[in-house]
Subunit: 298 residues, 2 copies
């Protein structure tokens, strides 16, 4: 590992490779249904931090997993993440006109196309994972499918989104808000961090360490989101902010206060670092990403 | 096979068993996100002809596949079919307030819940298929996942729905309308008919015969839909009808005329019967379902 490469360069390199992979994997724009593929590509190739793919690649490398396989899994995960953003932005959901500094899919296209593009990206994720190119061993591939489906479904991400829709009703229940975030964003984070260990047949110890890392990192990410939402401005984060607060939704900031939320993030970051001790210098970028995530401004 | 059992009884028995299977497989209604599960169950357990599950079971039985495995695959397929109906009924899509004689999900709940319930049912389909209970051999399971993802995605059902959204623009191009229907409904029909052969490791000959049967049956089903749409009444089919015609969308009836469309259905039914010759009396119900499909009134 060339430690002379900064995390920023490494993130950029990963983002570029994921975009190239998605460019190959998302269907070409053609036929009378071209509008669908165009919307899928607009959303999937339109940038983003590519944080989840980064985690897939960095953890998979710890166990010597073939980079081409990791890229496919990372691209599939990004398809799921992208679909969730498209549906989340719809008028009947969060009603966000902007995403990643550009018009949301339902603004750039229309609502029907946005719904279908989301549906197609979710389906594509499983098509990518099921392909023999993703891993030579079908029993590994099917486990990856099972884990992604579990993390993304009613008892995972979509369940968390449903809780988020009624977050006003969660009141001041910190356990409920924590569970909501664990479902909404935590489970895909956990998938991102654990899938490389699964593909590389990592030891039990390594898996446990990564699971704990994923848990703390995901929660730190989400609390930071709430802090940015409370403090941020529309210029910096490229989407409408301050909405949660105005809608009276429960958040970590409303429950812990700004100082308390920041303290919690610091604690989680320390824990996340500790979990990586097992991997030594090989986990260099997994360590540095923690600080980048909690110190980010958008 | 007890030929004394009428097709009607056999269909009813299958429908009941699928409902029982879905009742087990769709998550319980609990937690703050209970509304999501409630909407999923409302849609998935709310009846319907269960035609696709019937095809999965009948074809799978030809090759001696374990019934419990077939039921799981049939339930997964019905999850995909149900999700497509939920999203299709949304105001920005077909805007149908009624489905299967009851309020559509976005009417009984709300639009956001309908979108999430559809997303969760699609995801659940893959979770069901990936589970070891679906087939002991992981290489068979992963092939089933791959086929369903292909049939349901941008180059399958969702692509067909996109074409349908812009069907006015297809004009009088019979090839384009045929392709739209092939994508929109044909590919899931084909999956339903072929998956049992895959799971039962059927011969090449048997697979080819079933593929041809699926193609003709799916098209006959869809042309009959267009005929019912042109002729039908809201009382009989339990959803708003005559909409396609009024919107000036291309359909088989607009392209072939009513008599021409009926003639085409008859031809396809004859072909479908012929493809089953290979299986003799064992294909009794697969034969009789053809006539039920083309003579249905809703």
């Amino acid at each position: 590992m060339d430690l002379a490469v900064s995390l920023e360069q490494r993130l950029e390199e990963t983002a570029d490779r994921i975009t190239v992979a998605l460019d190959t994997l998302v269907p070409r724009v053609q036929g009378p249904e071209a509008r669908l593929m165009s919307a899928m590509r607009y959303a999937a190739l339109g940038g983003g931090k590519r944080l989840r793919p980064f985690l897939v690649l960095e953890t998979g490398r710890l166990f010597g997993v073939d980079e081409r396989c990791l890229l496919r899994v990372a691209a599939a995960l990004e398809c799921v993440h992208t679909y969730s953003l498209i549906h989340d932005d719809l008028p009947c959901m969060d009603d966000d006109d902007m995403r990643r500094g550009r018009p949301s899919v339902h603004i750039a296209y229309d609502e029907a196309t946005a719904i279908l593009a989301g549906d197609a990206l979710l389906t594509l994720a499983f098509e990518i994972l099921a392909d023999p190119q993703t891993h030579t061993d079908p029993s590994i591939r099917i486990q990856v499918v099972a884990r992604l489906a579990e993390a993304a479904g009613a008892r995972g991400m979509v369940g968390g989104q449903m809780m988020d829709m009624i977050a006003e009703k969660l009141g001041d229940d910190i356990a409920a808000v924590t569970r909501m975030q664990r479902l909404k964003t935590g489970m895909l984070f956990t998938f991102a961090v654990e899938v490389g260990a699964l593909m590389g047949r990592a030891s039990e110890d390594a898996r446990h360490a990564l699971s704990a890392y994923a848990h703390d990192l995901g929660l730190a990410f989400q609390i930071t989101d709430d802090i940015l939402d409370a403090e941020g401005s529309v210029e910096l984060v490229g989407k409408a902010v301050g909405k949660d607060r105005h809608k009276g939704k429960a958040s970590f900031v409303s429950l812990l206060g700004l100082a308390g939320a920041k303290q919690r993030v610091k604690l989680l970051a320390d824990q996340a670092h500790a979990h990586l001790a097992l991997f030594g210098a090989r986990a260099h970028y997994l360590n540095t990403i923690i600080d980048t995530i909690i110190e980010r401004k958008s």
